[in-house]
Every structure is written in C-alpha cells, then in structure tokens.
Symmetry: C3
Subunit: 154 residues, 3 copies
C-alpha cells in the first residue's frame, strides 16, 4: 500500500524546506491532535513567488491556480517539518484561501481549487477539507495567493 | 422541553439542502468534538443570492443583514447534514464574517449581527460565539456576505 | 520563578477591561482545551482607537505596529476574563491579523509583528504562534488593525 510520502514522490512534487520564521511566530503549532499552520505565500521551489499581483488585474486564473498549488505544497512542507512525515496526517480539516484580488474579481474559488486539488492528489479522501475563500486587498510582497491550513495529525 | 430542531421549525426557518461540494472540498469536516464548516455564501431558499454586490456601494445594511442571516441558515444546513440533527450542537464556538465591502464602509459588525442573532435565536445561550468580522475586497459570485463557522458537537 | 501575570506587571502593560459584547456574540469561547477569542480592535487603555485609517494611505508602519500591539493586549484581556489568569495559557496557538490596507500596501507582516512580539514578551517560547496576516478592505470603526486569537489553556 502506497504511503503518502511515496505518493508525493510519485507526483514529482518538489517540497521546499519549510519557510523559516522571520519574526516572533512559527510555521506551525500543534495543540492536541490539531496542527495549525501559518499562512503560506506562493513561493515556488526556486524561492521566487509563483505569481505576483492581483487576480483580475494582471494575474490570470491559471496563474492564480499555480500559485494556490504552490501555497499548498508549502503547507505540506510545514506539516512535514512539524510532524516528521506526511503519513502522520489523518485529515486536512480546513484551508483558508486568501486571493489578492481586484474588487471586481469573482473567480476566487476557481483559483483556490489549485490548493484543494493538490490536497486530494496527496491525501486522497483524507485530503477533502472545509474551505473558506476570500478576495483580499493586500498580501505580503504582493503575492497573488496565501493559504493557511488546519490538519488533524497522529 | 423544546429541542433545537423544534425551535427551528417554530422560527419558520426554511433549511435548504446543504450546498453540495463543487470541487475537492466538502461542506464540513469533523475532528474530535469540533466541526469546521466551510464558508457559506448568502444563498436563499430559492437558490439565488439574497444580496449581491458591495456594502457601502449599492447594498444596504438591512440587505446585508438578511444576507448574513442566510449564510447562518446555510451553516446550519451543513451542520445538520454532517451530524444528523442540530440537537447535536453543544456550542457555536466561532463565526468568521466576510463582508463584501467598499473600502469606506464601516458598519460590518452591524451586518454580521444578522448571522449572530440567528445563532442565538436557534441555540439560545449556546449560540453565543466568538466572532471576527472583516470587510473583504471580493467574494465568489459577487455575494454580499460569506460566513464560516466552528461548532462543538456531540 | 516569574509568573506570566508578574511579567505582565513588569512590562507595565495596562490591561483594559475585556471589551463587553455589544451584540449576540462574546469575547471568547472555550471548547475543550482551546479558547477562541473574538477579533479585537486596536483600542488603547483610554478607550480610543490607537490608529484609525488605512496602512499605505495615512497610517504609518510604526502606528500600525502600535495598533497591532494594542489588539494583542486586548486579546490578553479577553483571555484573562475567560480563564481568570494569564498563567492558565499553555500556548498561543494562532493569531489572525487583519490590516486595514490600501491595495498597494505590502508591509502587512511588519505591522503584525507588533502583536507577535507582545505575545513572546508575555509568554516567552509559549507565545510563539502560527500566524496569518492579510490586508483587508474595511474594518469596524475604520480601525487600522484587528487581531483574533486561538489559545491552548489549562
């Protein structure tokens, strides 16, 4: 039976090192069986933002989806750093998606699917999560997408 | 002694079917005694948005309150679908309110009261919750309000 | 060994009374070992907002940091009101930072450090938290910053 870690390899996902804290916060905090993971920006494996700017004003839905997927991969890197292995994840409980959006942009859920799809590709049915997606006025470094997560872990 | 389900009937609330997932996420996820419910848009019983557009730019506070109330009813529909009965709710722990707002709009809490009041009408003291309300740049389908919830359940 | 309450005194923090609920919600809800605290605005000890308006459009980063710090102090006031003593806090699990921001403002994390630093000043290593920071279109009363919190408590 394939483990989650094997599935991640099979998908060819490049897991970056978990982003180091740059201030008085940390990437993830465990409380009981829950792991709260900090909002992750859409940094790619090369350390650069996958997409910069606003959806509806220069960033396309496709670029936004790639960005959301990158955020999700960065969430997994934090989970792995905190727990030692993605096989310790019992359930993706909730994702919060923050889309850097022009006030007229309406397709935030489509963008966020980039993150949701990655979770199900990695965890299967256990990857299905509750989700809230909103369009926000500003994100750090003008990142196009930020995603936070809550995980049930062993 | 009146059950919560009886109270819902007494209030004449029309509980829509819980919105079906349209992507790789679900309406609610249970972890231990907590139920995290996805952000719900302000769909009414007829399946149309109760209010569309921005508070402070076309949508009135009263319309926003109706929209927030509709979001709250949709949260209840998700809770019922996940647990079988609203009588399994021990406490509404937290609501997150996302108001589609013009940057100059200041009355987001008043709008969100439409959701908070519904929870207390249904659950009494157990309906009192922690709450965060923010004005956001964009919501799916240009909905006026989105509300997410965290519930303690049996 | 210094208690957290002694450290708060040593820091000269003026803890305001926990803001009373003005609607059908409450300042904090406990569920199991978790305390969910409502979003707190940047009221100072005199009851006035520490900063009003938008970052990137009139409010400076330094003013924003002071505002975030005030929000954090107000979170502590809610925790104390709910638990009786800040020494009951085992861990600051998560902070959500909402910065009233002009769409072009990129320094939201720097602003939020005002809240994060206060938590570590008060709780030491137990004050390090998961964090999500976003720039929002509108906040109640035009407050510059709002912060919500999740705490693990005894």
């Amino acid at each position: 039976m394939e483990t989650v870690e094997q599935r991640v390899s099979g998908l060819g996902l490049i897991m970056p090192p978990a982003a180091a804290p740059v201030a008085n916060y940390v990437g993830a905090v465990r409380t009981g069986g829950l792991l709260a993971v900090s909002g992750q920006l859409c940094f790619g494996p090369d350390g650069a933002l996958v997409a910069k700017g606003k959806l509806g004003a220069g960033v396309s839905v496709e670029q936004g989806q790639e960005a959301a997927r990158a955020c999700a991969i960065n969430l997994l890197a934090q989970v792995k750093a905190a727990t030692g292995s993605l096989d310790r994840v019992r359930r993706v409980v909730r994702l919060g998606g923050f889309i850097n959006a022009d006030p007229g942009f309406l397709d935030t859920p489509k963008v966020m699917n980039g993150a949701s799809d990655l979770m199900v590709a990695v965890f299967g049915e256990h990857g299905r999560h509750a989700r809230t997606t909103i369009g926000v006025a500003a994100l750090p470094m003008n990142a196009a997408v930020e995603v936070e997560g809550l995980f049930e872990v062993d």
